[in-house]
Point group: C2
Chain length 156, copies 2
Amino acid sequence: MSQLPPKNTYSSFMSIALEEAQKAAERGEVPVGAVLVQDGVVLAQAGNRTLELNDPTAHAEVLVIREACQQISSQRLPNADLYVTLEPCPMCAAAISFARIKRLYYGAQDAKGGAVESGTCFFEQPTCHHAPEVYSGLSERASKDLLQKFFQSRRS
Amino acid sequence: MSQLPPKNTYSSFMSIALEEAQKAAERGEVPVGAVLVQDGVVLAQAGNRTLELNDPTAHAEVLVIREACQQISSQRLPNADLYVTLEPCPMCAAAISFARIKRLYYGAQDAKGGAVESGTCFFEQPTCHHAPEVYSGLSERASKDLLQKFFQSRRS
């Protein structure tokens, strides 16, 4: 885990990711949002759409990676930074690695399902052949609040 | 890892997976093929298309999971079996888990990039919330031969 960069370089992109997470909640999806940025420009932004698309791979991170790759006609994004509200799962962590993403910024830790600082810690494994720089704990409270409210409302 | 089932229950589906792997090689893609089967019927079959689609997530397993989910209008495939020529990577192993696939049959082991009996052994981890039954080593020689020939021809 690296030191956090200056706040002005990431806070506006995390705000967009949080808006995407909020919109996902309004659609009844687990509220996670992601943004892919290259040279200060948003290439793609999305929230989870697994229910809407009937696609278990339609996590926010996979959706923005797929869309950004279409935009630049490449399966690799070595100059792109990914912002996501929750610690990526093993599927998304591996997709981030395959896409050669440069930096990963994320919000809340996911002890039950994450794969960066939790679970398999994929980027630290010998079977990981590209690891991004990782910055965690950004907008952590807001990211967690969205998830907690969502799961509380589902239980009640 | 479970005991292999009787050969007649899997060999025809592994043959289809191998044909998809061969077709992937002919397109210049890493030769891995996959088939999703439910009640003895093929729901989806595909080979890798990461280059063709500019999509780092377009592994054979992800393609068949996404297609089969469209067909049955669900993000879960609890009665489906996946046949794939190579040990799934962490991305595909997690997608298999999220889709609640019942049984996984695969060919060659992938010590460098696999995540079932190699690397993170994802299905055995506490952050894995559904593990399929796993049968490995099916058509192993044919699966490996396709991969070795492909990488040899790329080097020469």
